[in-house]
Amino acid sequence: MDVNQYLEIFIEEAKEHLQNMNENLLNLEKNPDDMELINEIFRVAHTLKGMAGTMGFEKVQSLTHQMENLLDEIRSSKIEINVDIIDTLFECFDVLEEYITSISISGEEGNIDSSGLVNRLNALLGNSKNEEVNEEQNEENFDDQIRDLEDHVINILSKAKEDGYKAYSIKIRLDENCMLKSARAFILFNKLEAISEIIKSEPSVEDIEDEKFDFEISLIVLTKEEKSLIEKEINSVSEIEKVEVAEINIGKIIKDQKESLGKKEGNKAFVKKNKSKTPSTTTNIKKKKNNIVGKTVRVDIDRLDNLMNLVSELIIIKTRMEDIGDDSKRQNMNEAIEYLERITTNLHDAVMKVRMVPIERVFNRFPRMVRDLSKELGKKVNLEMTGKETEVDRTVIDEIGDPLVHLIRNSIDHGIESPDERNKLGKDETGTLKLKAYPDGNHVVIEVEDDGRGIDIEKVRKKAIERGIVSEDRAKDLPKEEIIEFLFEAGFSTANEISDVSGRGVGLDVVKTKIESIGGIIETKTESNKGTKFSIRIPLTLAIIQALLIKLKEEIYAIPLSSIKEISTINSEKIRKVQNQEVILFRNKTLPIIRLNRIVGIEDNINKKELVIVIVKKGEKEAGLIVDELIGQQEIVIKSLGKFLSGIKHIAGATILGNGSISLILDVNSLL
């Protein structure tokens, strides 16, 4: 069977299920007695098993199968849950994740050995109980199903009996290779409805329609037909593995029901029985609510990119038409262009929204990471995450994961103290790590805040001198903020011992470089013994920006508007030279001057007296860029120069202008 076409769907879904399992495991660790969580994990393991089986991934299948067995024992209270079990489940999760990663890379499970884990699961199970238990369970379920019939069903049954109908309980198991389960079930229902009346379906019809079921369907039908006919009808549908049809003895059920009523003090008992049932139905409802997800369509990212490109083209054409419109000055033309502009702006927004993904995608992996790290380092950390729903462009999501991982590790390793130390300081034994995201105009701010010991300014100062980053004389007078900046210098690490977690010397400088490469900034606030807060500010999208177009001789360059502070003119005679750097006194401040033409390799224009400068900023730093001519502000679509020209100095990318020619985008950050 060719399953490759389903591989992508399998991987996507498996990842979702694993994410789900991860969350539930983390919750389970906090509330080990919550049966609902066990059920949910069981359900996920079961689904994964089914999916893996369909795709022929045997290792995943056998591991999830064993997990399922263990969880089932816990579910039925035969085994008590303990730390060991939870840890083992976490390890299973890790291995499963590795399998899925390997599958997504190579299409194969790889050679990670999980037999050790399977054995451990077995050991936890006590003895190796296997298949038989499952079989038994099934049988039990079969009876349960009949026993647990709701009252209204029983009412219908008794009425039907009077009218001469027979009731059958049907268990159908779809073939595990069945790809369109809900469609298959639909055909099945149609067949059955032709000869009978379906009065109960487990899972519910809605769930079946949404494919929210595994492979088994249990039905109760009323019909005057014989059992053999029902079996025949069902078997005429393909992709069905197993069918069991059993007649329900309606009389007996009604009698049972009555007996239980009679035995236990009449009506009260009935109420009680109902009551005992109520919790389970409410949890069922709760579970259903959990499963309700927004209606989504999976779209290949390439297609989105393609759509985005088309919108980009539209914007380019729009700009081009604006140029033509200026020349001809025809009223109708202008109106049409304005209309076009409105549409393109809306379309652009709409496409951008499609590309937006909640930051949750990145945040999701942190609870587990914090758990593992704090265990490893013997610290107690409580992770608080807010603003998971904040949306950013897909291009940004891919970039911020690593920097955040690093900051979090940094906070747990260097920031938060050990429980003992915290006790001595009169702090709560458990440290708090806050991860917060919120939108701010065209930017998103992400904060990583801990309530640990804060950054030791003196230690940083000393280290900076040791490392030769700054001279001793200068370091003495530097304010706190500038000292903290040293943390982001290459090769700087304050941890005395190099730990496995962070402090390997490659650290915050990498974070800073990465954040800046996507046009963001990072700020640090720290207070001794109160904690440290890193704030990252990044643009919502990296694809389209506002830019100022300027001319250097005949060449047109774009400067991102976000880094421009102001534009002014200066007199060339006022430029002074200080330590080989040209500066000018501007608004009572010395402003470094950069001659852009030299940066891009164009000779100086000596005759000019009045010079146009574009003042750009990066954090606190500012500089004036001398340009020949200003063209104007424009929305530009950023295109990469491609791998072949990657790493070209001072050039951040390219954009296509209205006339079809290419203009390069200056990398202002690298100039300062």
Binding site: S312, V600, L641, K643, F644, I656, S661, I662, L664
Partner: protein, 150 residues
């Protein structure tokens, strides 16, 4: 990949000599168009062009091979090649032919100092009287080795 019995090559002329590129690497052949110079790039990078909405870098093969500059580029062509998913354009004097060469018509390049850095040449192809230098395009672009000498 050099032992395939027969392969097709796109031929082009540069400084009156014939060169060939494996046809599977060639995407399109374009007429010369306006470049945007890229500052701080290696000197053989002529610039970037707008190829139907994509920004594609273009290499001047004459500069790459240290051949004399040409005054008139108006008849030149740009061969767009795709190597490791990277599109790059090569400026050549002219290109109009696709040639099929069998393995026995391909020789290893001689280890003699020529006017082209011999490293860039994978084989010498023979087509009657014509000698065709089959380029090792990865090396020409420095994509695999990542070593750029300018």
């Amino acid at each position: 990949m050099s032992n395939i019995n027969s392969a097709q090559y796109v031929l082009f002329k540069l400084n009156d000599e014939y060169y060939g590129i494996d046809i599977s690497k060639v995407k399109t052949i374009e007429k010369i168009q306006n470049f945007t110079r890229v500052p701080n790039a290696p000197n053989y990078v002529k610039g970037v062009i707008n190829l139907r909405g994509e920004v594609v870098p273009v290499i001047d093969l004459r500069k790459r091979f240290n051949l004399p500059n040409k005054n008139d580029y108006s008849n030149s062509r740009i061969i767009i090649v795709t190597v490791n998913d990277i599109d790059v354009g090569l400026i050549v004097d002219s290109s109009s032919e696709v040639l099929q060469l069998t393995a026995e018509n391909l020789d290893n390049p001689p280890h003699v100092e020529g006017n082209v850095t011999e490293d860039f040449i994978k084989h010498i192809g023979k087509d009657g009287e014509r000698l065709i230098m089959i380029l090792d395009i990865e090396k020409v672009l420095g994509i695999k080795t990542n070593i750029e000498e300018s």
